[in-house]
Amino acid sequence: MAVTNNKLVIKLMGSTLLMFGFGFALVPLYDVFCRVTGINGKVDLTPGTYLSSSDTDREIKIQFIAVNNEAMPWKFKPKEYSMKVKLGQTYSTAYIASNSTPNYMVAQAVPSVSPSEAAAYLQKVDCFCFNRQPLDAGERKEMGLAFNILPDMPAHIKTITLSYTLFDITQASSKVLASTE
């Protein structure tokens, strides 16, 4: 009896540990799930391939939005607020950021695409959101963005909105730097 008790207890403790691990496994699992389905406007942060021509003439509108996260004092706006683009061709534009504070700061932009269905078709060939953006006090910078839209995007999508939220990560990045030194 005591032996079977011990076996069962070990099994149950094992499943407890397993479920604790599963809690953490949910983090990448949700990520994978979002990426595969394009839910949550979750955008790939790996550079897409350069496309230069395609056989469609389909044109859609893309809008650019800039948002400052609540504690972020920089001035941040898109260079152009909207563009007409052909599917399958690569375009470039930029966002303008200026650090109006008297301190050196580091920022990170996080993209989001709406409608979320379009997220899987909007490819960023190059993007300022791939890197953290350091600016000295008073410095102004044009941050480049090159993108294209895959030609097989569903026909009912006529307008895409690409939004960037700018976060202040000065403290976090200095911590990371300190720990790597």
């Binding site: 005591a2 403790m13 407890t16 809690g23 949910l26 269905e117 990371v176």
Partner: protein
């Protein structure tokens, strides 16, 4: 292993085929015989150390129940503070930040401190007696899982006196409110949640091992009393989801102190991820708080209807399907976060599906009562109120499950009304019913029936006055978790506050009744209730300190 259990285990092996005395209804118990052999070898230890070092399931069950009652009172005082502030619009008594701490602590204490420990206490007291086991399978672990709790809750309550105040981010502690914007005491909160989780997991392991390994000969799975069945399923839910809760608070801890970004968008994390992981725990958690209640009601209604429970096996399957479904509906708490249409539809239909097994259960309870010879003692009154009021809570749940409608109900008092209807007249009433039902078996004395009935009616009227108007203010748009509100909600809020005070103070009657029952001699019979069936009623009242040291035989 303790020597106590080894003795017990040996005795069990020796006498596995020994019991022969027949008692009523097919259950055979030789309790009278083993009483004389066990009574003399050791009773409870003397003094306070009895409670610190006890490994006896009845002692530990009692401690759990007293602990739960204490927390119920503490959480209740917080609820009354909330209701006092909401009696009239405007800020009268407490500051908004303290108000937020009260709503948060009220929720956490009632969920983890009152309802869950009460069910574990009932499990400790009743499961060994119901399956014919001498004690829980792991008595030392049992002692430990109880004694962690007072420390966990001391830590939790301590935060109220710390700089920056206690947790003020709601009992669901959504990030980033509970990470980036939390008061410094959040670390203590995280530690307390870890401790509660460890306690529940150990309790659950104990329950599973007891039920699977310690049943009396002849007590096969489909003969288990329903309270035991529902607790077995609850224990599995606990083992599956409490570690996920531990995981999510660990991620919070890492985000706050170790520079990770699980829930911070700036570092590549996602605040919505918090809600997904939290509700993956949170939804099964609400069934953890209601399945044992289903079991209790399934014990009480047949007793007072003097009929066998209608549809025993369908009850078992319904409970299991509810437990399974609880894992695939979590996102119905998050309809408004921006789920894709397919997600909204899936979670909406999966949620509605839960109404089917729940409906089976309600149908079975009603069918049990149908043409029964019913009497209305206090436990039965509470059980009947459970069936009616829990169904009302279930219906408002169905309304909330409709994704397009939920956009209006989300985060309003309608939600507050819904979950209080399933938790107060649901879980709490079932715990009250269980207490009245088994109190004569625990103490050996009958409680005062008249006082019990008065307590029931005051509670019944009190909670309906408190929570029913919340449906209306919710539908009219009053948000939850606010210390102040627009003038048009004033009347219903005043009514709710009056009801809350009525309900709160009538619980003092309950405490008085329990204390009197322990102290005043009013010898209860072995059978206690005329229509009661099951192994626990073959034991004398009060149940001896060691029961079933020789296992009874069940046909």
């Amino acid at each position: 292993m303790t020597t106590g259990t080894e003795q017990v285990v040996e005795a069990e092996i020796e006498t596995a085929e020994a019991g022969k005395n027949e008692s009523f209804d097919g259950a055979i118990a030789d309790t009278d015989k083993n009483e004389s052999t066990t009574e003399h070898h050791h009773g409870p230890a003397k003094g306070i150390s009895r409670w610190f070092f006890t490994t006896n399931h009845k002692d530990i069950g009692s401690m759990y129940l007293w602990f739960s009652l204490t927390m119920f009172m503490v959480g209740g005082c917080m609820a009354l503070m909330i209701r006092t502030e909401l009696f009239q619009p405007g800020l009268q008594f407490i500051q908004p930040d303290f108000f937020n701490q009260m709503t948060t602590m009220h929720g956490l204490i009632m969920v983890f401190g009152a309802v869950m420990p009460a069910f574990v206490g009932l499990a400790n007291w009743m499961i060994p007696m119901m399956v014919g086991a001498p004690d829980m399978a792991l008595p030392r672990l049992n002692n430990w899982s109880f004694w962690i709790l007072p420390f966990a809750f001391s830590i939790m309550l301590m935060t109220l006196f710390m700089e920056g105040g206690g947790p003020n981010f709601g009992w669901t502690f959504y990030a980033p409110l509970s990470t980036t914007f939390a008061p410094p005491s959040v670390t203590y909160f995280i530690f307390a949640v870890h401790m509660m989780g460890i306690s529940s997991i150990m309790g659950a392991i104990n329950v599973i091992v007891t039920i699977l390994n310690m049943r009396a000969p002849g007590m096969n799975m489909m003969k288990l009393p329903l309270f035991v069945w529902t607790w077995l399923i609850t224990a599995f839910l606990l083992i599956l989801v409490m570690p996920v809760l531990a995981g999510v608070v660990t991620m919070m801890l890492m985000d706050i102190h170790f520079g990770t970004s699980f829930f911070s968008a700036a570092g590549g994390g996602d605040p919505v991820l918090f809600q997904h992981i939290f509700w993956f725990f949170g939804h099964p958690e609400v069934y953890i708080m209601i399945l044992p209640a289903f079991g209790i009601v399934s014990e009480i209604i047949p007793t007072f209807a003097r009929k066998k429970l209608f549809g025993y096996s369908s009850m078992v399957y319904a409970t299991s399907s509810i437990a399974f479904l609880s894992f695939i509906v979590w996102a119905h708490h998050m309809f408004t976060v921006g789920l894709p249409l397919a997600g909204e539809l899936f979670f909406m239909f999966a949620t509605m599906l839960i109404a089917v097994p729940t409906g089976v259960k309600v149908f079975n309870w009603v069918a049990t009562m149908f043409r029964g010879s019913m009497t209305f003692e206090t436990p039965m009154l509470f059980a009947l109120a459970f069936v009616v009021l829990f169904s009302i809570g279930g219906f408002s749940g169905l309304m909330l499950a409709i994704a397009p409608a939920d956009f209006q109900y989300h985060d309003t008092y309608f939600v507050v009304a819904h979950f209080h209807y399933v938790l107060v007249p649901g879980s709490i009433f079932s715990i009250m019913a269980a207490t009245y039902y088994w109190l004569p078996k625990w103490t050996g004395n009958y409680y005062n029936e008249k006082m019990g009935k008065i307590h029931f009616w005051l509670s019944f009227i009190g909670i309906n006055i408190t929570f029913f108007p919340m449906h209306f203010v919710g539908l009219a748009g009053m948000p939850r978790r606010v210390p102040d509100y627009a003038l048009q909600f004033a009347d219903f809020n005043a009514v709710a506050t009056v009801g809350a005070f009525l309900f709160g103070f009538s619980q003092l009657l309950f405490i008085y009744n329990v204390v009197c029952c322990i102290r005043k001699k009013n010898q209860a019979s072995k059978q206690v209730w005329e229509g009661a069936h099951g192994l626990e009623w073959t034991l004398p009242s009060p149940a001896p300190y060691h029961s079933f040291t020789k296992p009874p035989k069940v046909d």
